[in-house]
Symmetry: C2
Subunit: 397 residues, 2 copies
């Protein structure tokens, strides 16, 4: 007699973005003449630059020719791409062998699936608030979760947990708060992990938005991190690959946990992926190779600069209007404290109804997100400006 | 203190295809002059037809233009594709609503991930031999497994288990045996599932290789199946998408298990996918739409005919040489009984060393696969013929 996995009953009742879509749709149906400004969703909007488009075309053309056609690829992902990523890390002073890199279809599935290789009774620490995948996948797997509060008081950067945990998820630059951990702050977690024999899962999906060279883009800039940390990254926010799907996960050979030798964790992830995954698309892969080319790098930096200009517009305008805003300097997200102690969804509704601006309620990212909303820099500059103007003109006090 | 998931220790020591690659590589390094004929791996080799290539190009071009650029797509996958698949099922007399179809990056991940929505103590039945993903993912999740032997005696089609199980995986046309279940044989499983309140996971990835219209291509051709079966399918073997990555899973609204209402299982899968997956590539999706167009259908049927001609060549030649062979009529796989009771790996080694032909050892698909090897119709016709000639001329008795 088949039964359902009851852990699903413990999930937040609706998935955040579905709920926003529903509310927005309902408003739109009641007000068909109104044009909404969507400043909430973390979905890229600018076209992919020409060098990368050419990469995709190359990938497609290869598939149309018997001499260049490829099916299933190399087990950990296209070797050329793993070599190119290894070289890219080296330009940042980080030495990683291509065998330590696994290509995937994105950071989100990897963030969830990585739990598979660790004990089913692992205690998992997550930031609060944070992008839901770490917590929700842990709930589905039945793990105990420890929350690390990110509050105005600690600058939205938590300290390592007081208790012993097995797995620590860290997302920096953070989604949704837009703040970035310093090397010192990150070092505290590496020290914690080594002392407590825990593993850090470091989500660096927004690393390319960091412009201050003293801030760490990779956890491997921190001494000792290779012994205790897995890093996940993606081309989604870096080069507009949200719909294209291409990410990667680094599992260093030096990463060991109690009772295992070097290479064992790397080997387990290899086994998980070769058993339950069949590789990223070979078309996406060719595009990814182009992202890492000189011109691809230049063009994607421009893309990021475009979004970061939006972030600046949002931050400056909202500050000018007297809102308390955080992040948005090294991340495409602005974290806004709601006025008059409004709840996140209350302020979401207010912005929707009065200013026709759609944001993301902070409470959807965790209990500590209550009283905040997330604004996103992804969007057309004109729409961002229009949204700011509409908030200025239409939002009632 | 992080620990590993000990269930990984219960997996077969090496993943079948990695082991073949290693053995082949070792032989090649010792015999650099020898050119090997690979007749084992289920990887497509023919180029993707022009209509579908044009579909990919459309997908790529859209990403290069701000007006047509898309990021994350619809939650269950591109609505146009779900509507097109629904229409395609309808041409076969099967009515499925687009909300019952979920687009994914392939049949393999879905086959594994679907277990997430069912009880962690589910007992899972799998064919023996069969494609490893069902068993291996069940081992990783710690499920009890019941094997359904597929032997020469039962024509490689098992009967439903004698004991009560919760989940039954069925793969028809079967990989690796190449045999197809009749409607009557499949009906026995549907009846079993309804009687025992079990759920069938039906992997139809090779359905398009069926040419006999009396054989079921979809489990939903069987009365009652919507109440108890999930169907998984893919464009991989149908249109050369092994490297492109595009599949889908059908979870009917009528599918209920004890204690749930209609739509609940569909909803759970929706939750699993929206939480832990981020959609198939939008480029792959455009190609998939082209597969379902009139010309795409015609061209992909030609592709399949090409491979099935290879299957015919293999089957006829091996039969002529006195081998006992099965399958290969409605599937791209030929299941060969090894001569002189040789073990699967023994015969693999013999074929590699004497005939320079690489096949897939049947024992890699399960205990009942011992004493068999799988030959695959994927490959160039010339190579297939060369392989057959080499076996005829070089294989020592």
């Amino acid at each position: 007699m088949a039964k359902i996995n009851k852990n699903y009953n413990n999930l937040p009742q609706t998935y955040l973005f579905s709920e926003i879509a529903k509310k927005t749709k309902a408003f739109q149906e009641k007000n068909p003449g109104v044009s909404l400004m969507r400043l909430g969703v973390g979905n890229t909007t600018e076209p992919i630059p020409s060098t990368i488009i050419k990469g995709f075309i190359t990938g497609v053309e290869k598939l149309g020719n018997v001499d260049t056609y490829t099916g299933y690829g190399d087990e950990q992902g296209d070797t050329r791409l793993r070599v190119a990523l290894s070289a890219w890390y080296q330009t940042q002073g980080i030495t990683l062998d291509p065998t330590e890199i696994f290509i995937s279809d994105g950071a989100k599935p990897d963030s969830a699936n990585i739990q598979s290789i660790f004990g089913t009774d692992s205690i998992i620490a997550v930031q609060d608030p944070v992008y839901p995948v770490y917590q929700d996948s842990a709930i589905i797997a039945g793990h105990k979760i420890v929350y690390m509060p990110c509050t105005e008081e600690n600058g939205f950067i938590p300290s390592p947990p007081n208790e012993k945990v097995d797995i620590v998820y860290l997302c920096s630059p953070n989604n949704p708060t837009g703040v970035v951990m310093t090397k010192k702050q990150l070092k505290a977690f590496v020290d914690y992990a080594i002392e407590n024999k825990a593993v850090i899962i470091f989500d660096a999906a927004y690393a390319e938005y960091i412009s201050d060279p003293t801030l760490p883009k990779s956890i491997y800039e921190i001494e000792g991190a290779k012994k205790c940390a897995i890093e996940i990254n993606s081309f989604s926010k870096w080069a507009g690959f949200t719909g294209v799907r291409l990410g990667w996960t680094v599992v260093p050979m030096d990463l060991v946990i109690e009772g295992t030798e070097g290479g064992k964790i790397n080997n387990l992830w290899s086994r998980r992926q070769s058993t339950m995954f069949n590789g990223a698309s070979n078309i996406s892969t060719e595009g990814a190779l182009s992202v890492l080319s000189d011109s691809g790098q230049k063009e994607s930096k421009k893309l990021i600069a475009y979004y970061m200009n939006n972030a600046k517009i949002i931050k400056e305008n909202l500050s000018k209007l007297g809102f308390k805003v955080f992040g948005g300097e090294h991340a495409p997200y602005i974290w806004l404290k709601t006025p008059n102690n409004l709840g996140s969804w209350e302020f979401f509704d207010k912005l929707l109804k009065e200013a026709h601006v759609v944001v993301t309620p902070g409470s959807g990212f965790g209990a500590q997100g209550e009283g905040y909303v997330r604004l996103s820099a992804f969007g057309d500059k004109k729409d961002v400006k229009k949204g700011m103007k509409s908030i200025e003109e239409n939002l009632k006090p």
